[in-house]
């Protein structure tokens, strides 16, 4: 039995900086997009805000206390409303330690306790504690089976026999960062461009007299416009690559007896422990950049509270050659081995996608090219949707093997979901009138990730294959599956 303890006083600053960091993004965005206050009062407001933050940081530090009892953690928290909590050790799913250069200077770490219930937030967090204390706590709670004196956040160089360490090396890291963005960049870039065009319109005063020569005003020499677009895209790409670089810096994956340890981060080093038994699905994702270079990245859906930015998805490994994925998953003892979705695809799915996506866009493009100068460029969008339809129709597929299943699908990135029957929360088959005619079917299912879950769909599987998947899913639960299946496409008799 020990007395109630507080975190290290430097918690005040750690907590304070964390709040400031959250304010930083709005400030930067504000600065970038030109929100300015010229009333002379804004400085006072800012100071006042900082003062309040500091005040609350002090209060929070003072009122956050904890005590380790026999088999539970007793916690008192709350700045205004006092909360008392008993957190039983067996309910604690992960104890998450992280550090940054500032904390490191004082030999401190940030500690978060995650439990099964609750929100995405940590159940209990100490912004700064002495590392020895954190290690003692971790040992006491015993959720993880690490050796006691192992240095948590140092990069593991001495790997034991049972442990295997995968490290992202220099070149790989750069490649992973450069190929991390994919379609997002293009969207961001295009939206920014649209914003700029909007701004151009705001200064209508000097455009209006030239309205008649609209053509000439917008018609900056074509080459220049193209270069502008390319430059914006390039900037966004580099920016997002830089962010990815910082996040994945010193990425190591340690494979242990029952769990994976993922460490990464440049400024803020984080450590994540993922027990195999909580993994719901392994997802192999290839965005268009990675796919064209023959690479993929591996993500996980993990049930329960997760350390991190509330993201329900865990990055298991950022860069792996596509042909080595099978080998890799076997080597890291993935609970779900690699399987290639092999179900037959149907060209009819491609036709249906053309009707759904390409034709409306083509109509739009026709109108644009008739009425708007340079509107003919919108045909590029039509071409892109055509390409996406082509890729998507071939990627909608699956393979089953016993209880295991591999589901292939594509929204923008190609994704292969490796999981097993009992992890799929439900399964829906949907057939629209057109799909019925084309003998296609859309399958929807759901997976748990974090404390919530998400549902996803595989669009336009051939009807027969979709039925096979449905049958596979339901046969575990009923003997009369065949009877059921008769009705999938609405062939049932409607007698009362």
């Amino acid at each position: 039995m020990s007395e109630m303890k507080r975190a290290h006083p430097l918690s005040i600053f750690a907590g304070f900086f964390k709040e400031l960091k959250q304010l930083l993004l709005p400030i930067i965005i504000g600065a970038l997009f030109g929100i300015r206050h010229d009333d002379g009062m804004s400085e006072w407001f800012a100071l006042f805000g900082i003062g309040i933050c500091l005040f609350f940081a002090v209060i929070e530090w003072w009122r956050t206390r904890y005590q380790v009892l026999e088999d539970q953690l007793y916690v008192k928290i709350g700045t205004i409303f006092m909360k008392e909590r008993f957190i039983r050790f067996e309910r604690i799913q992960s104890l998450h330690l992280s550090t940054n250069p500032f904390l490191k200077l004082f030999g401190l770490v940030r500690l978060e306790v995650h439990t099964a219930g609750g929100e995405d937030k940590a159940e209990f967090a100490l912004p700064a504690v002495k590392r020895d204390e954190a290690l003692r706590l971790q040992e006491r709670i015993g959720g993880s089976n690490r050796s006691s004196q192992e240095d948590l956040l140092a990069v593991l160089d001495r790997s034991e026999n049972s442990e295997r360490v995968y490290r992202l090396r220099g070149g790989e890291l750069v490649l992973a960062a450069l190929t991390s963005s994919g379609a997002r960049v293009i969207f961001l870039g295009l939206f920014t461009l649209l914003g700029q065009i909007g701004e151009l319109w705001d200064r209508v005063s000097f455009i209006t007299p030239l309205r008649r020569e609209f053509h000439r005003v917008i018609g900056v020499p074509l080459l220049e416009a193209a270069a502008g677009v390319a430059a914006v895209l390039l900037i966004f790409w580099l920016l997002s690559s830089a962010i990815a670089f910082v996040k994945m810096y010193r990425f190591t994956l340690t494979v242990r007896e029952k769990d994976w340890v993922i460490r990464r981060g440049f400024f803020e080093q984080t450590e994540q422990i993922v027990p195999f038994k909580r993994v719901q699905a392994v997802k192999i994702r290839e965005n268009w950049l990675k796919q064209s270079f023959g690479y993929a990245s591996v993500y996980l859906d993990v049930a329960g509270g997760q350390a991190g930015d509330g993201a329900s998805e865990v990055l298991l490994y950022p860069l792996i050659r596509k042909e080595r994925v099978a080998e890799f998953l076997a080597a890291i003892r993935s609970p779900f081995p690699w399987a290639v979705p092999t179900a037959a695809v149907s060209i009819r799915a491609f036709y249906w996608k053309i009707i759904k996506y390409v034709v409306p866009l083509a109509v739009l493009a026709t109108i644009l090219s008739l009425w708007v100068p340079y509107g003919a460029w919108s045909w590029l969008l039509v071409a892109a949707s055509m390409a996406l339809s082509w890729l998507g129709y071939r990627d909608a597929s699956f393979a089953v093997d016993g209880d295991r299943v591999a589901l292939g699908r594509r929204e923008f990135s190609k994704e292969t979901i490796l999981t097993e029957r009992k992890r799929l929360q439900f399964l829906s088959c949907r057939v629209s009138p057109v799909q019925k005619r084309l003998k296609l079917m859309t399958v929807q299912s759901g997976l748990i990730a974090g404390n919530n879950g998400y549902s996803f769909r595989i669009c336009d599987l051939p009807l027969a294959e979709g039925r096979r998947l449905y049958e596979w899913y339901i046969t575990a639960y009923t003997r009369s599956a065949r009877h059921e299946l008769q009705r999938v496409d609405g062939e049932s008799s409607y007698s009362l």
């Binding site: 009992k422 949907r430 009138p433």
Partner: protein
Amino acid sequence: MQYIHPKAIKVWRIHGMISAAISFVLFLVLMLLGLFLFRWLLYLAAGFLVIGLVDFLIFVSVIPILRWRFFRYRINETHVVIRDGIWFVKHTVIPMARIQFVEAEQGPLLRAYRLAKLKISTATSTHHIPALSIGQAQKLRDRLAAFIQASDVDV
């Protein structure tokens, strides 16, 4: 596969009537405003008239019957199957072991007809059985609850 309670048709009809009535009221208001204030409001009024008529013709007369006829469900020890949709046919399988909670719910209309709606939730989705008699809804709810307890939960 089982049908839901036939009174559901009546409830849906009343729903259709209510939304049609709202459209008609909006139509009248907009028409008056259009006559005395802005002429362009008349177009809006015409829109609402059309919506109201469509509601009245289709959502009161045809759709409720079809909806009832095409909605089927089955509950056994291991799973729930729901078949829904008139044109867009959707079959859903919910394994008992994946169900997290079941709720019987009543709105004022359903209560007037002594019906209840059954909501079946998994970790990632919620599925509805729209109208059952109160007794049956409660019975199903309790049965489901019993099944859920019996089946293994190993997430």
